[in-house]
């Protein structure tokens, strides 16, 4: 927590109320920071504003208040340094797999000639295991393959930050597992800073270094930052054998099931600038509520 590569500083998002004057506040005074190379997951109930936060980070949306600072500079609009993997994969259906990735590559390196662009795109197609499908259209691909193209497209522009909005939620468990492995491998390899939205607790536990817990909207707040106590060389298969596994899992699930609703009411002195950082760990009774006041 020494350097702040990404620093979200007091952002708010409001929409005009659907009837009458005033505005609906989705969230307010949200502070969040991440050092370079870290993998952060944000978890919260539907409608609390996760996508909004991610879109603001991407530069696709603007906060009503506050700023986002990346690498020492306030962001203004989108950037090739921040790649987005969309929930709906958002492939351009009139282009082939190669065409979709080459479009991104040639957008980043505008002076490259066609052969160079294609060669570069090909390495990323190979990396996500789509060799042989270069000339297929998105409509000819399965859901998992489409999402792989989306991942390859984001990786191909070698961004400093990867932003993922529930990238795997539409996939079957088996495909999801392999893609999680690939994402973890690639992000560890490249040292990219990654910010991901998920609804899947196990996914967050496997991938994330830090898990950001958001309360229910409207007026959502960042309630806690959970540090992942599992070792860095964890594997998806025997995650659950780790002694801290259940402590971590129960803590998150307990938050989602009960505390996310009541947090604002029961924690009047919550300071959004200094959100408690918690590191759930194995104790004699891992499911006991005493965990909530664990290590600061």
């Amino acid at each position: 927590m020494t350097t702040k590569f990404i620093s979200i500083e007091g952002i708010a998002k409001r929409y005009p109320a659907s009837q009458g004057p005033g505005a609906t506040t989705i969230f307010e005074d949200l502070w969040l920071s991440m050092p370079s190379g870290e993998f952060g997951c944000i978890i919260g109930h539907s409608g609390c504003g996760k996508t909004t936060v991610l879109n603001i980070l991407a530069g696709l949306d603007e906060p009503s208040e506050g700023t986002v600072i990346v690498d020492g500079q306030a962001i203004a609009g989108t950037s090739l340094d921040r790649a987005v993997i969309f929930q709906s994969h958002a492939l351009l259906p009139w282009l082939t797999v190669m065409g979709n990735i080459a479009y991104a590559v040639s957008s980043k390196w505008r002076k490259w000639d066609k052969t160079k662009v294609r060669a570069h795109a090909q390495t990323y197609i190979d990396k996500v295991g789509l060799t042989g499908s270069e000339h297929k259209r998105p409509s000819e691909l399965s859901g998992g393959m489409k999402q792989r193209v989306g991942i390859a497209r984001a990786l191909s522009i070698t961004p400093k930050i990867m932003l993922m909005d529930e990238p795997f939620s539409a996939l079957d468990a088996l495909t999801r597992g392999t893609l999680q492995d690939e994402v973890r491998r690639v992000t560890l390899e490249t040292g990219q800073t990654t910010f991901m939205i998920t609804h899947d607790v196990d996914e967050a536990m496997y991938l994330a270094d830090k898990i950001f817990l958001m309360t229910n909207g409207p007026g959502a707040v960042l309630a806690e930052i959970v540090e992942n106590p599992l070792p860095r060389d964890r594997s998806r298969i025997d995650l659950h054998k780790h002694p801290h596994y259940y402590a971590l899992r129960n803590h998150i699930i307990d938050f989602l099931v009960t505390r996310s609703k009541t947090f604002t009411a029961t924690t009047p002195h919550h300071d959004p600038r200094h959100v408690p950082v918690i590191r759930p760990a194995f104790t004699e009774a891992p499911t006991m509520p005493s965990l909530h006041s664990a290590t600061r």
């Binding site: 991407a58 530069g59 696709l60 609009g77 989108t78 950037s79 090739l80 921040r82 790649a83 987005v84 969309f86 709906s88 958002a90 351009l92 259906p93 009139w94 479009y103 991104a104 957008s107 980043k108 259209r137 998105p138 409509s139 522009i157």
Partner: protein, 279 residues
């Protein structure tokens, strides 16, 4: 199964066609007795009536005449006697020119309207008023200002084909999926490149649908416009042959108008299929 369906449909089509020809033949073969016809009308219709033959040509007459036309479609014996090919050529040329100008105007303007909510709102009242005007209503104004009948016909084609293209382009552009625009935005693609690499291909099927509607309307309107302005063209030909009381030629012209209209539609349908993408 599909093949057999196609085959059966073709058989039914041919049967309907033959039945139609047969009924037509029988209906026109009958000798209409001169007595039942009013003498004035009989005089007006001349030989066809008095020789005891029906005034309405039968399929064999039309077929023979059609064969004659097809053998020499491009002859030119002065202003009132030109080959069918020449007349159709004039009409297609006018439609092509008016349509092309409409494409050049409607597609960029449609892009502007689709991409800018301000222009959309600002131009909407004009479009709402101008769109329902029958294209032929412009004719006197066009003749007065342009002072050239052929150019006036082209103007009328322009004005009737511009609206469907304009509205479809604006709609197609405005309805491009936000996620595709977001892809271009995250890749820092400039406005101009975005218009050509994302918006144009995404809106192309809608734009082409508008273009297909337009070519159909243009072909409908050209016949009426040429009847009004006269001189050349298939519309003028129909009117001229009516004045010559050559119903055979009128029927042939009607047939040709149908065939050319179908071909124009098929060409646009093919282009539409080329730009349509499965999702």
């Amino acid at each position: 199964m599909i093949k057999s369906l196609r085959f059966r449909a073709a058989v039914v089509s041919i049967a309907i066609f033959l039945a139609f020809i047969g009924v037509w033949h029988l209906a026109t073969r009958q000798t209409a007795s001169v007595g039942t016809m009013s003498p004035e009308y009989a005089k007006l219709m001349g030989l066809t009536a008095t020789s005891g033959k029906s005034a309405m040509p039968g399929p064999l007459d039309v077929g023979a005449k059609l064969w004659e036309h097809l053998k020499r479609p491009f002859y030119d014996n002065g202003p009132n006697d030109k080959g069918l090919g020449i007349q159709l050529g004039y009409s297609i040329g006018r439609v092509g020119l008016g349509y092309l100008i409409a494409v050049i105007v409607a597609i960029p303007l449609g892009f502007l309207i689709g991409m800018s909510p301000l222009m959309n709102k600002a131009l909407d009242p004009f479009i709402q008023v101008l769109k329902p005007i029958s294209p032929l209503a412009w004719m006197p104004l066009a003749l007065y200002t342009i002072k050239d009948s052929s150019l006036s016909a082209i103007f009328v084609i322009f004005i009737c084909s511009v609206w469907p293209m304009l509205l479809n382009t604006a709609f197609g552009v405005a309805a491009v999926r936000k996620e595709w625009i977001n892809v271009a935005r995250t890749l820092e693609v400039g406005t101009f490149r975005r218009a050509f690499t994302v918006i144009l291909p995404a809106a192309a099927p809608t734009i082409l649908t508008g273009m297909r509607i337009s070519i159909g309307i243009a072909w409908l309107v050209i016949v009426a416009a040429e009847m009004l302005v006269g001189g050349t063209g298939i519309g003028y030909f129909v009117w001229n042959e009516w004045n010559n009381l050559s119903i055979t030629n009128v029927i042939i012209a009607i047939l040709m108008i149908g065939v050319v209209g179908m071909l124009l539609d098929q060409i646009l349908a093919r282009f539409t299929r080329m730009v349509t993408f499965p999702e």
